[in-house]
């Protein structure tokens, strides 16, 4: 199996690489911006799992590069995980400065959409492949403190769902991953509720298992399905006054 990870320097991505290397002996291509980190991870994963790992530079906000990036891959992937994400510690800057807001939207949604479209075309042609998009439960309902990020994830959710609909009869599977809180560098400064917060390795195992079962939508950890059901059920009249 050939696995391509976009935004591979994410902590979740590193754990996902480990899960696929461990269980599937997958060959892995790590694509992200910080090459120093990627090169270390290539060494690390190769030694730990005895699989083939390589890396290349990839910036999802560089829209122009998407097609040539994909064309340059010597072996095309069977599975693609989109894991790049951007969430500033607070939303304030993005409220004041549209450039910051656009960056959130580009990394979490528009860049992802543009890139995955190129890959989907290839998968559709080959009649084969899995696309795993890591989105967020934050996309299920906008909250005052985080709605710009949340809306980028909401857009990504709708995108993935439509693409799943389009490709399901073409032998291509699309999976939406909706994590709750995870201990990663993205959430480093935040005070997260310990019991609700997962380790990247737990999320990665969930993702791998859901991939094997060809799930469409994965909440991870599992209880987020129920937490979100409650949150989505709150009438807007009430919700608008709450501070979650």
């Amino acid at each position: 199996m050939n696995l391509l990870i976009l935004g591979a320097n994410s902590d979740v991505a590193y754990a996902v690489a480990g899960a696929f290397a461990g269980h599937e002996k997958a060959s892995i291509l790590l694509a992200s911006r910080n090459m120093e980190l990627l090169e270390k991870k290539v060494q690390d994963l190769t030694i730990r799992y005895g699989v083939e790992v390589s890396c290349c530079r990839f910036d999802v906000t560089d829209f122009e590069s998407h097609a040539s990036f994909y064309a340059s891959l010597a072996t095309k992937p069977d599975v693609v995980v989109y894991s790049a994400g951007y969430m500033p510690a607070t939303q304030e800057e993005a409220q004041k400065n549209y450039k910051e807001a656009l960056k959130i939207l580009a990394v979490n949604f528009s860049g992802a959409a543009a890139m995955l479209e190129v890959i989907a075309a290839d998968f559709e042609r080959r009649g084969h492949g899995t696309i795993i998009g890591i989105s967020s439960v934050a996309g299920e309902r906008g909250r005052q403190s985080n709605y710009i990020y949340g809306s980028s994830k909401a857009a990504f959710n709708a995108y993935l769902s439509g693409m799943r609909n389009r490709l399901c009869r073409r032998g291509v599977h699309v999976m939406t991953v909706l994590p709750g809180f995870i201990h990663t560098k993205m959430t480093e400064g935040l005070d997260l509720p310990g019991l609700l917060t997962a380790k990247p390795e737990e999320v990665a195992e969930d993702i791998y298992r859901a991939f094997r079962k060809k799930k469409d939508i994965l909440y991870t950890k599992w209880f987020w399905r129920w937490i979100m059901a409650v949150i989505k059920g709150i009438p807007e009249m009430v919700f608008k006054r709450m501070s979650l």
């Binding site: 910080n34 980190l37 270390k40 991870k41 060494q43 690390d44 030694i47 730990r48 480093e188």
Partner: protein, 432 residues
């Protein structure tokens, strides 16, 4: 954020940041003010505690492996558990391992940890070929026995006070199986257990559980566990998720009577004598790692470990006195461990010296510290010392008497600007 270590005492308010690249670490190091490295927080006391810390856990990549010689190059945040799960199936195991696999390579070097094989293999530093160290100005130096050997000797056992260890090259030992041939002997008193240790000295691993509530002619009642790597059995190992102690035990659960009961139970359920039975390596080396958060049984107030070592010539007399004193006080300890250590290694602050080491876990309570002060005096009188990585309360005087090389260590810190940059609650208490 709140920060503490394995003893959960003290708990302080601290600022912590992770690093994944040397550049990210450098930014933290060259900032104004002082800091200390924090690995996996398995030290019991205040050696990894400071108002500002850098967490190494995410700096955890394995960089190189030489399958001919068993040499691994890795970043300091890699845990011993990770090294075992990657390399044991290939026939390589740690040359030196402490009683938990949940520590980082950086922490293993900084405390120069020892294991059940100290009497034959020495401390962790004996399997360290070299490491890179970040100094106060952010510069990185390679340290080994040949290069910057002064820094090598100060850093192994130096409790993070010489800089941040970045990467290390360590040497694994070849093994044929993930099993141990274990010998268990029940010993009725100190004399018997000393005898047993000497008798089984040839085996690479030995340690004894000791009942600290017995006195008189039963003082030192204990169970020796010794062993060697088996040459049969598979290399597979299953380091499963531990079951966890879910909450803090109320303080009254742990008292002289419950501990006495436990100790009786433990002693009498051990076989009187077993030779060379085959046991998996994981429970042999890491019996406590199968229970997550076991430090919670000591309650909210936390606990500490008192670990001392006495020179061999004074060990019998000294330990008898100390154990009797402990039994009289009735400060029972579920976990008390006796071990015969091999010779000292010449690092400035490494703990082991040739003789017997005793370690006991004790709940923090009001009367504890004055009592430990009393024990300190006995330890010092007999020419012994206390282990820094377990310590949370020893005085400057006890430190200086126990570690005669403290002065050269302090000098180095002074001249290289480490004293202002790398400090912990412990280093300030000990004024080193």
């Amino acid at each position: 954020m709140k920060l503490t270590s394995w003893g959960r005492y003290p708990r302080i308010e601290a600022e912590g940041s992770h690093f994944e690249t040397t550049e990210q670490l450098r930014r933290q190091v060259v900032r104004d003010g002082n800091l200390i490295a924090y690995g996996m927080g398995r030290s019991y006391g205040d050696s990894a505690l400071n108002e500002r810390v850098v967490f190494s856990r995410r700096f955890n990549k394995i960089l190189h492996f030489d399958p001919e010689n068993g040499l691994v190059a890795c970043e300091c945040g890699v845990s011993l558990q990770e090294l075992i799960s990657v390399f044991l199936p290939r026939g390589w195991f740690l040359s030196v391992t402490p009683g938990t696999r949940l520590i980082s390579v950086g922490g293993a070097i900084a405390s120069d940890v020892h294991g059940k094989n100290h009497h034959v293999a020495g401390c962790f530093s004996s399997c360290v070929d070299s490491f890179e160290l970040m100094l106060p100005g952010g510069e990185i130096v390679l340290c080994s026995r040949e290069e910057n050997s002064r820094l090598f000797r100060a850093t192994c056992g130096g409790m993070g006070l010489t800089g941040v260890i970045l990467t290390a090259v360590i040497r694994l030992q070849k093994v044929k199986s993930a099993y141990i041939r274990e010998t268990v002997k029940r010993c009725r008193n100190l004399e018997e257990i000393f005898h047993c240790f000497e008798q089984y000295q040839k085996l690479p691993y030995s340690v004894a559980w000791i009942d600290c509530l017995e006195s008189g002619d039963q003082v030192g009642r204990s169970v020796l566990m010794a062993g060697d790597h088996a040459d049969t059995g598979s290399l597979d190992i299953d380091l499963h998720q531990p079951v966890s102690v879910p909450f803090d035990f109320p303080g009254f659960c742990l008292n002289r009577y419950s501990v006495k009961l436990f100790n009786r139970f433990y002693y009498h359920t051990r076989p009187a004598s077993v030779e060379k039975r085959l046991v998996p390596l994981d429970p042999f080396f890491y019996p406590l790692d199968s229970i997550g958060h076991w430090n919670r049984i000591y309650g909210k107030g936390g606990f500490t470990q008192y670990q001392l070592v006495l020179p061999k010539s004074a060990s019998y007399e000294g330990l008898k006195l100390i154990l009797n004193r402990i039994a009289k006080q009735g400060l029972g300890s579920f976990l008390a461990v006796l071990k015969l250590c091999g010779p000292e290694n010449g690092n400035d602050l490494s703990f082991p010296m040739e003789g017997y080491s005793l370690a006991l876990d004790l709940k923090i309570e009001k009367k504890l510290f004055p009592f430990l002060d009393e024990l300190d005096r006995m330890v010092i009188d007999y020419g012994g010392r206390l282990y820094l990585t377990k310590d949370v309360r020893m005085s400057k005087a006890v430190f200086r008497k126990g570690y005669p090389q403290w002065e050269t260590f302090a000098e180095l810190r002074e001249t290289m600007g480490m004293k202002e940059k790398f400090t912990s609650l412990q280093s300030r208490r000990l004024e080193v």
